[in-house]
Amino acid sequence: MLEIRNLHARIAEDGTEIIKGLNLTVKAGEVAAIMGPNGSGKSTLSYILSGRSDYEVTEGEILYNGESILELDPAERAAKGIFLAFQYPVEIPGVATMQFLKVAMNEQRKARGEAELTTPDFMRRVKEAAAELKINPDMLKRPLNVGFSGGEKKRAEILQMALLEPKLCVLDETDSGLDIDALKIVADGVNALKSPDRAVIVITHYQRLLDYIVPDTVHVLYKGQIIKTGDKSLALDLEANGYADIIGEAA
């Protein structure tokens, strides 16, 4: 589903190279974890997948279902089914959460040539998905993410993911700032979306989240490259021994 080949990318503003020859393959139905120390390029990779213009790809290729997505803007990528759950969801005052959800769902449907949702159908979907994630309906009456706690913001991201039904879900440190109960709810939300035609990339610092969202593959990102790939035992290994050994091996 996703194939990243020899990717090099830098910060557009100052030219700092962050991703330096990264290779990664994620298959449909797979849950892939990306782990790595601070500053290794994990969040940058997620932004680049989503199409954020603050980063420039200087070399290499990102293929999604066999097609390059480098020329697509974030909205086009989203309509093709790529979803990034942000580490720090943005607060947007004045934009009502419900209006945002409706516009996003309908714009994606439009881009795919599907009919727009009727208001009752939309309301029903939101209500069901919010209940699953134990989201207080009052939260949805507020402007987008404004005044949400850290945990509420993360839950709102998963709500959006559930409603938009993407094919490639990228979770950028979704576990940060969550207490254990919230972590379970969020993990259940992600697990409910698992399917043979959907892939999930979980970016995290800690093994903890992977107890709840069990990965098929684990990749270690360091200095802009994947330096080691393994199965879920690799994550446990990292938890026990830290990154030093693997970094040493790679060097």
């Binding site: 945002f100 516009v103 881009a111």
Partner: protein, 424 residues
């Protein structure tokens, strides 16, 4: 010194003289009204259209910007347009001519043309100030409009929509509204050109709020892309009277909307909320003068501007606090979203404070769309144009939502989204 060259009439000035001369004998009015018209027109002719050398017109050089005057009448629209709020009572002014004066409970309604004919309008026709070009143009050419008197204690349950509707050419209308003591009303003053030919529209509204009256007055200006709109609203507030004035400019090529407010009674409150949606190569000027003339009066003014393309906008806000107007509280803010490198907005706050125990504040901000916000919306599949639209709506919606009438809020949000659809 020879200054003759500077005083040579522009094409528009010459056309105004020609139009006035051509309509002599045809303009409605008794001796007093015709005399008042002659004075106004003579003043206009002598002063000429204001240039940037006139302080109040510094950012809107009317003499240079107003290139031509359309023929007196071209295409009259054939029917009224649907009111902004479905249940509103429409008083249509079609091509400057009133159509319906049937009664509405709590309000007496008269055609302003009648006041011109019987001479009661003569007192309305005085120029507001020495630089009152709009009052002079309108007073010279006005043929009709409406005179509304809301009875004491009347609480109108329906919105009144004054629908100034034209199809190009010239329209000069006047609305005189008096609101009785403790009355409550909401009035929409709507300006729209539904034709294709250029128009010159002038409109003067004259509001008097008696003690304790509470009025919401909404001006919705959606003239065509070639039109000149010269609007003016004058307000006198009695004791404890409250006026909420909402103005949205979403059209016109050359627009000047003046607001002149005076607090005449203690405890009165004035709220101004303005939304300017500007695009293309247009020029839009909102100029306010507000006199806090007596003690214990309050006001807040918030203007939000969204400027695309090569459009230019102006907000001049002058607040004067009279020497004995202690405990005045006035707060003014002007926020602008510039959507292109060539867009322009000029803000001139002016506070003249002669009392010592007052609170007056003003602030202005300029920004462009927050790129992080835009990215977030796009990352959820909302293409750039609608994503920008959502953020612009968010920027101006706050002001619209202050109007508590849900139907009115929805209607104005519709005006904004229609404009964004066409220009965003």
């Amino acid at each position: 010194m020879n200054i003759q060259a500077a005083n040579r009439p522009s094409a528009a000035e010459a056309a105004l003289v020609e139009a006035y001369t051509a309509q002599l004998g045809d303009l409605p009015g008794d001796g007093a009204v015709l005399g008042a018209r002659d004075v106004l027109f003579d003043e206009l002719k002598r002063a000429g259209l204001p240039t940037r050398r006139v302080e109040a017109w510094h950012y809107t050089d009317l003499k240079t910007l107003l290139r031509a005057i359309p023929e007196a009448e071209t295409v009259t629209p054939s029917k009224a347009i649907a009111p902004l709020v479905e249940t509103a009572r429409v008083l249509e002014l079609r091509q400057g001519v009133s159509r319906d004066v049937s009664a509405l409970q709590g309000v007496t309604i008269k055609a302003y043309g009648e006041s011109l004919k019987d001479g009661t309008a003569a007192a309305d026709l005085l120029a507001f100030s020495k630089d009152d070009a709009i009052g002079r143009i309108n007073g010279s050419f006005v043929r009709d409009g409406y005179r509304l008197s809301v009875a004491d204690n009347a609480a109108l349950d329906r919105i009144i929509e004054l629908q100034a509707h034209q199809g190009g050419g010239q329209s000069h209308g006047r609305f005189i509204a008096t609101f009785g003591a403790a009355s409550k009303a909401t009035v929409v003053e709507r300006h729209r050109n539904s034709g294709k030919t250029a128009g010159l529209i002038s409109s003067v509204s004259d509001l008097t709020l008696a003690d304790g009256a509470e009025v919401t007055w909404v001006i919705v200006q959606e003239q065509g892309p070639a039109d000149t709109h010269l609007g003016q609203i004058k307000v006198v507030l009695g004791a404890d009277a409250k006026l909420r004035l909402f103005i949205i400019n979403a059209g016109g090529k050359l627009v000047r909307q003046e607001i002149h407010v005076r607090t005449a009674g203690e405890g009165s409150d004035f709220t101004l909320r303005g939304v300017n949606l500007l695009g293309g190569e247009t020029h839009t000027d909102v100029t306010m003068t507000l006199g806090h003339d007596v003690p214990n009066t309050t006001s807040t003014e918030v203007i939000r501007n969204v400027v695309f393309d090569r459009a230019r906008g102006v907000f001049q806000g002058q607040i004067r606090v009279a020497p004995d107007a202690q405990k005045t509280d006035a707060r003014m803010a002007c926020n602008t979203l510039l959507m292109s490198d060539e867009a322009e907005f000029s803000v001139k706050p002016e506070l003249e404070i002669f009392a010592d125990d007052v609170q007056c504040a003003h602030g202005a901000t300029v920004a462009d769309i927050d790129h992080t916000h835009l990215y977030y919306l796009m990352a959820r599949g909302i293409p750039q144009k609608p994503a920008r639209g959502l953020l612009i709506q968010a920027f101006v919606a706050e002001l619209v939502e202050e109007l508590e009438d849900e139907a009115l809020v929805v209607a104005l949000e519709g005006v904004i989204s229609n404009w964004l659809e066409a220009h965003g």
